[in-house]
């Protein structure tokens, strides 16, 4: 077992530094101790328990309390009153609110008011005038997993303050009395007084008493050792009492060795104290270990000293007289010697250093491991009791009597790792989980062979590529209005590799590393509410959720998932203690999330509302909302700034959403559809997590008010994040996508998984109404999902949870029964939630893991699997080898796509796989590859064939990728014939070589067709034609060919196919051919055809092939 030890140490002049210097060597002989460098507040990662020495001096102990706030542990409360410390840590750090909160926690609203008085200077500092009334130990006790005190007095005060955790009373260890010669000081008797000279050490009373005593004992001397408090006026006091010239011997601050020598010279020591801060006196212990009796005030720890070693005098009335009596008694022959011997014996038996160290170890061992042991024992016993129908609660007193369970049931979140987890430090386990998860996920991700979720993957890869090449986030050379965080990450892949194929593999490596890093924030967040084993399980489940399949795709989900979880963790930390730093970190993460996905605006709303949710949960407890002013001020200021800037630029403030601003500007959301889709999304969240976590979350939230603070905070964060994200995604889906956007919602999964594990760890509390309601809702919600409507192409990429149900619908039960099946499974799971005995509780997370596995199967193996869909998409788009364009012209060339429509995957896939493709234009509206300014529409100038952009300008191009039908004027240098994509070298203005009229898109012609080609040379035009025997049964059509050729008439029976070969003789470099077709017919005129087509149709022409004469 390892202990991290937080304490001031020499050369600090604090008495507690001396204490630790004494204790540490003895402690280190019994247990592994890592002494933390003073000032360091970061927890020691592999320590089983932390030990914090806390006294009232802010200079010496503030950092120890800071460390305690970072990790709970065992507190040694050297002073029970720590008002001075708290004042130093709050007012001293200009955090008056924290002081007020501490005062309010101590004394309610009245305390807060008094604190205000102090802050405003209307009330003198309470730590100077009334510290014992306001000890302010509450904050420290709240964070303590155990408390060590040196006196029954401090123990009683701690209990009175409501501390109900483990508490050990361990005596102050005694220094071994050094072999030292007593200092040569006269005095018979000689009384010593050691420590600061001030009012609270009762020096005035002591001086008066000594003056009286000396009247009868002129040889008596009083040795005053220690610094004089400012304004104390010792000299004046001595003068007034007639002790100025003789009787009192002064020594200011002395070194340790001199201190011992002076003490040894005394016959007895007078160590008075009132009021007491609950402290123990190191001087008193030293005195006793030297075999000298004490005169002490009858307060606190001093009152607990045995009567045969210390004479106690009351504080206040009769104090001086009692002091005189005590001195007189000690001056009697043999009394001081007798008491001194008893003192030596008392120190040997009660304050022995090794014994104290052993008691420390006992306390630390109990603090570190007891809760885990007790939980196991209680569980075993409670299970046995429950199995036999005995009420488990009856057993608690017996367990307590045997020391098997804490009497108060105070079980903070344990730091103890049990079983296998104890073998390695937790960071090693997490590291191993990360490596294994990333490796497995990468292997699965690489099964995806090509981008297929379009156009998202194309947008982010274009931005990444552009950033790697130019340092700007552009799509086809135009500013990209999307979050840049993920493209920035992806750009590394493009930096690392030249070929797109390599970059694509590296991108998935980055995806796996980014997405799997979610294990770290998930673990840290889970550790706020569950023990290490469960937190580890939460981390493992978080990286097993099916949507991590997006690792195979170039989607922002890969970056957003871990960022979201870090944000959730930051939110929980800020809710725990809303310091300025935590709020700023939270907002910084909100900004980072927003720059990753615009949907993160909902997270800002969650951050703003979570403190209110917590305040509502904690209604009746002291509120801390005012501590959140910085958050609200920063967000309010930022919102104002956005509005001002956007309005000044003449834009709507919603433009800050970039590409997603349409969701606010061009949409009219309606209430009922929005509500319906919100319910669908809740149901999807429920079913995708297999019901149990959803039900557990409901139970926790419903009872949040009665939970421990860690769970209250967690519940507040989880509720705020869930509500806002579900609202946002549900409302968005109701208007825009009409599908369940699981990929925008799955980030919430770890919160629900942690809720389940916390629920299990706390013994599966099932308050009747909440549990039944939770199970009922969780079981019924999946019934609302419109499965039939959702099982379509969109679900393949966005609604992953539906796949196993889809599979069951198609292969087993029929689609119509899927909803019924889902509800049946949900009911079974809800029943397990309600009735599974606690001993089988570990089965619940396993059930969820099994559910995830069953979801993964179709996602990886079925016809709608990611690998299969990506492969199909790729082959739809390209048949000539991935980077055939780069291979032909080099990746640094400049290729422009001129898009003429139909099967956009040919455009997308070629653009993705070829780094040389840098621009795109549309030729035939309304088809586009990417809507927006990245893809201008071109028009053909009839007289010249020049292509002009929307501004009327001609377009320059080096290479052009287009369908042959686009008739681009250029040299054909490569082609993907099977996908009808041709690469032309243009090196000049973009133009079409050929203008055709009367040829319709579906290869039918009008009655007249013209074909015109510029830059024409002698050759032939081949025109394959055929007719339609349905429209022209038994008819022979005539096609009259004329123009710059020899006129001819071709006869075309409706059942035959012919190729018309037209010899071309150019005139002025232009060839012109006209085809007149008779007869022509409108299908709509022939009702028997049952074809409403209103066009007048000629023949069918499958293409125009211009073949220049050889040579």
């Amino acid at each position: 077992m390892k202990v991290s030890y937080f304490s001031p140490l020499p050369p600090s002049t604090s008495g507690i530094a001396d204490y630790s210097a004494l204790l540490l060597p003895a402690l280190a002989r019994l247990v592994e101790v890592e002494v933390v460098r003073p000032g360091r507040t970061r927890p020691i990662a592999d320590a089983d328990v932390a030990l914090y020495h806390i006294g009232n001096d802010p200079d010496a102990h503030a950092w120890v309390v800071d460390a305690l706030h970072r990790r709970p542990g065992v507190v040694v409360l050297h002073d029970f009153v720590i008002h001075h410390l708290v004042a130093g840590m709050t007012i001293g750090r200009h955090d008056g609110h924290a002081y007020l909160a501490a005062m309010e926690r101590e004394a309610g609203v009245a305390g807060r008011m008094l604190g205000w008085g102090v802050l405003e200077g209307r009330v003198p500092p309470l730590w100077e005038i009334r510290p014992t009334e306001f000890p302010l130990a509450g904050e420290v006790l709240d964070r303590a997993t155990g408390v060590i005190v040196h006196s029954r007095y401090a123990e009683t005060r701690a209990r009175e303050h409501g501390y109900d955790g483990p508490l050990w009373h361990i005596p102050h260890p005694a220094w071994p009395a050094p072999e030292i010669e007593p200092a040569q000081i006269d005095g018979s008797p000689l009384f010593g007084c050691f420590g600061h000279l001030n009012e609270s050490k009762r020096i005035p009373q002591l001086l008066r008493a000594f003056a009286d005593f000396r009247a009868g004992h002129p040889a008596a001397r009083l040795l005053l050792v220690g610094a004089e408090a400012p304004g104390f006026d010792l000299a004046g006091r001595l003068e007034r009492l007639g002790l100025a010239s003789e009787g009192v011997i002064r020594e200011p601050y002395v070194e340790e060795e001199r201190l011992w020598a002076l003490m040894s010279a005394c016959d007895a020591c007078v160590l008075l104290r009132a009021p007491t801060m609950g402290e123990t006196s190191g001087s008193a212990i030293r005195t006793l270990s030297l075999g000298k009796p004490l005169v002490v005030s009858d307060v606190g720890w001093f009152a607990e000293l045995p009567d045969d070693v210390a004479i106690k005098v009351p504080v206040g009335d009769g104090e001086v007289e009692a002091l005189v009596a005590a001195m007189t008694r000690l001056a009697e022959p043999g009394v001081a010697a007798r008491m001194g011997e008893a003192a030596r014996s008392y120190v040997r038996s009660e304050h022995d250093l090794d014994r104290v160290a052993e008691e420390y170890v006992a306390a630390l061992e109990q603090a570190a491991g007891s809760s885990a042991v007790e939980a196991k024992i209680l569980r075993a016993v409670a299970e046995a009791a429950a199995d036999t129908g005995v009420e488990p609660a009856c057993l608690a007193p017996e367990l307590t009597a045997l020391g098997l369970a804490s009497p108060n049931g105070h079980v903070p979140v344990s730091d103890t790792r049990t079983g296998l987890l104890g073998i390695w430090p937790m960071w090693a386990w997490l590291g191993a989980l990360y490596v294994v998860a990333a490796t497995v996920q990468l292997a699965l991700g690489l099964r995806v062979v090509s981008p297929w979720i379009m156009v998202d993957e194309l947008v982010y890869s274009d931005m990444a590529r552009s950033f790697a090449d130019t340092g700007h986030f552009l799509i086809r050379g135009v500013h990209a209005n999307y979050g840049f965080v993920y493209p920035l990450l992806l750009s590394l892949a493009y930096k690392l590799s030249g070929s797109v194929a390599d970059a694509y593999q590296w991108a998935r490596v980055l995806n796996a590393l980014a997405m799997c890093s979610v294990v770290f924030p998930t673990y840290l967040l889970a550790r706020r509410v569950v023990r290490p084993g469960f937190a580890f399980a939460a981390a493992a489940l978080a990286i097993a959720v099916p949507p991590t399949i997006y690792i195979g795709t170039l989607m922002t989900e890969n970056a957003f998932y871990p960022i979201f979880m870090w944000l959730a963790y930051a939110l929980v930390l800020a809710l725990e203690r809303p310091t300025l730093r935590r709020q700023v970190i939270l907002l910084a993460l909100c900004a980072l999330a927003f720059l990753t996905r615009a949907q993160a605006v909902a997270l800002v709303a969650a951050a703003l509302s979570a403190p209110l949710v917590l305040a509502w949960i904690e209604r009746g407890r002291p509120r801390r909302l005012s501590a959140w002013k910085p958050l609200y001020a920063i967000v309010g200021g930022a919102a104002f700034l956005v509005i001002v800037v956007e309005v000044a630029r003449g834009r709507s403030p919603s433009q800050i959403l970039g590409g997603y601003s349409v969701t606010t500007e061009h949409a009219s959301y309606q209430v009922w559809p929005a509500l319906r889709w919100i319910v669908y999304h809740l149901a999807a969240l429920d079913l995708s997590l297999f019901v149990l976590p959803f039900a557990a979350m409901i139970v926790l939230v419903a009872n949040a008010r009665h939970l421990d603070r860690a769970l209250r905070v967690f519940s507040a964060a989880a509720v705020a994040l869930t509500v806002w994200l579900v609202l946002e995604v549900g409302i968005f889906a109701s208007h825009w996508s009409q599908r369940i956007e699981e990929r925008n919602l799955f980030y919430l999964a770890p919160l629900f998984l942690v809720a389940l594990l916390a629920w299990i760890e706390r013994g599966q509390p099932k308050p009747a109404r909440a549990a039944v309601a939770a199970a009922g809702i969780a079981a019924a919600l999946p019934g609302t999902i419109p499965f039939l409507q959702l099982m379509n192409i969109n679900a393949q990429s966005d609604t992953l949870f539906i796949q196993p149900w889809w599979y069951l619908g198609d292969r087993v039960a029929g689609r119509g029964n899927v909803a019924l099946l889902a509800v049946a499974v949900s009911v079974v799971l809800a029943a397990a939630f309600l009735w599974l005995p606690h001993r089988y509780a570990p089965v619940l997370p396993v059930l969820i893991a099994l559910g995830f596995f069953l979801t993964w199967l179709p996602l990886q193996l079925w016809i709608h699997s990611f690998p299969r869909l990506s492969s199909a998409t790729y082959t739809t788009g390209i048949s000539a080898g991935r980077s055939w364009i780069d291979a032909a012209v080099g990746r640094n060339a400049d290729v422009t796509i001129v898009w003429t429509g139909d099967n956009p995957y040919r455009g997308w896939e070629n653009e993705f796989w070829n780094r040389s493709v840098k621009h795109a234009y549309d030729l035939t509206p309304p088809d586009t590859l990417l809507a927006g300014p990245t893809e201008p529409h071109l028009t053909v100038e009839a007289s010249t064939g020049l292509l002009r952009d929307p501004a009327g300008k001609t377009v320059h191009a080096q290479y052009v990728l287009a369908e042959p039908s686009a008739q681009i004027s250029g040299t054909r240098i490569a082609a993907d014939d099977a996908r009808a994509m041709v690469l032309y070298r243009v090196d000049g203005l973009l133009r079409t070589s050929t203008a055709i009229t009367g040829w319709l898109g579906d290869t039918w012609t009008e009655p007249t067709v013209t074909w015109l080609r510029r830059g024409c040379v002698r050759g032939v035009l081949r025109v394959p034609v055929h007719s339609d025997p349905t429209l022209y049964p038994g008819v022979i059509q005539r096609i009259a060919v004329s123009g710059t050729t020899r006129p001819v008439v071709v006869r075309l029976p409706s059942t035959s196919t012919k190729t018309i070969v037209v010899p071309l003789t150019p005139r002025g470099g232009i060839c012109h051919v006209r085809f007149e077709i008779t007869p022509s017919r409108r299908p709509a005129d022939y009702p028997a055809l049952n074809n409403p087509d209103p066009r007048t149709l000629g023949v069918l022409i499958s293409g125009f092939e211009y073949v220049p004469a050889a040579g």
Partner: protein
């Protein structure tokens, strides 16, 4: 009186503890007390089971049976003393030593993990509470009493029980040293084998069985003791009495043993006991050169002591007879008188 003797039982195992309990129950019944042996199967691992077992004992209601009161309970070893009764006497064979003196030794049970350390503390707390309730605590030897005092601060009286009533007698002082023990490492039989290898001509007879037998036999072969070392395995009562009757002396030197009936049996057979200075309980009655030989736990010292006995048969007889007088004073009657006085 109606009495319940409480003893945990490791299923399928039988040793000195079981013989002790049977003897006590038998003796109490012989004195006319209605006595029952109460046992609960005992398993002290893994982890917290050591404490849930304690809880089983706590759950027992031994204040009455079938409507008639039980006058007192006599608990014996961990965790049977968790049993509740207003008149509870503990005749302590031993505490859970893995948590006390064996902790952090190779015979300990608790690792350095925080949970194991806390579990050990729970066992210590348990002992303090459960033993602290007893009206009186007896221990079978001063070593057990000392451990109890050191660990819990509780005082106990030493009350040594007599061995099983076999036909102990003495027929000769032949040239072999006898070991009667369960064969496991803690009994240190290997020390005797090594000593025999050094003391030329010394024969040893090792009675008993146990998990360490194979290793010990191999050790004897490795040391060339063929013919000089005999492993008899488990023997009948008659065979055991015969071995005691014929041997030169009896070797008995476990590590810091709580008690051990073997020295009593040796003494009743008028044989001296060879033991070591760290043997614990046996040292209550084995005194060097008075009732046996007490040597440092080294091969050389032990070999020298055994050789000395072989060369001094008369002295062996004298030592053995001195022991016989001590052993004969230990009877069930005397033990029961003291036990019942505590619950009267």
């Amino acid at each position: 009186m109606r009495l319940a003797v409480c003893m945990p039982q490791v299923p399928f195992e039988r040793g000195g503890t079981e013989i002790f309990a049977d003897g006590l129950v038998h003796a109490l019944r012989r004195r006319g007390h209605e006595t029952e042996l109460v046992t609960v199967p005992y398993k002290w691992y893994p982890g917290e089971r050591v404490l849930t077992q304690a809880f089983l004992w706590r759950m027992l209601d031994l204040e009455e049976a079938n409507g008639r009161p039980i006058d007192a309970v006599i608990a014996t070893k961990f965790p049977s003393y968790a049993v509740r009764h207003p008149r509870k006497v503990v005749w302590l064979l031993h505490q859970f030593r893995q948590a006390w003196d064996l902790d952090r030794t190779e015979l300990g049970q608790f690792s350095e993990s925080a949970e194991d350390r806390a579990l050990r503390r729970k066992v210590l707390d348990f002992d303090r509470v459960a033993l602290g309730e007893a009206r009186k605590i007896f221990t079978t030897s001063s070593i057990v009493a000392g451990r109890l005092r050191d660990s819990t601060g509780l005082d106990a009286e030493v009350l040594a029980p007599p061995p099983a009533p076999l036909d102990f007698h003495c027929t000769a002082y032949e040239d072999f040293i006898l070991s009667v023990n369960r064969l496991d490492r803690a009994k240190r039989i290997d020390l005797l084998i090594e000593a025999a290898a050094q003391a030329s001509g010394l024969r040893i007879v090792i009675a008993g069985d146990g998990p360490d037998r194979e290793r010990l036999e191999q050790l004897a072969r490795d040391r060339g003791l063929d013919g000089r070392a005999t492993f008899t395995g488990r023997v009948s009562d008659e065979e055991l009495a015969d071995l005691y009757a014929r041997c030169l002396g009896v070797y008995y030197a476990p590590v810091n043993e709580d008690y051990g009936l073997v020295p009593y049996e040796a003494f009743l057979s008028e044989k001296p006991v060879v033991t070591t200075t760290d043997a614990g309980g046996p040292l209550d009655i084995v005194h060097d050169r008075e009732t046996g030989l007490v040597v440092a736990p080294t091969v050389e010292e032990l070999a020298r002591a055994c050789s000395w006995l072989r060369d001094h048969t008369d002295e062996a007889r004298t030592l053995g007879r001195a022991g016989r007088d001590i052993a004969r004073a230990v009877t069930w009657d005397s033990c029961i008188d003291r036990l019942l006085a505590a619950v009267a």
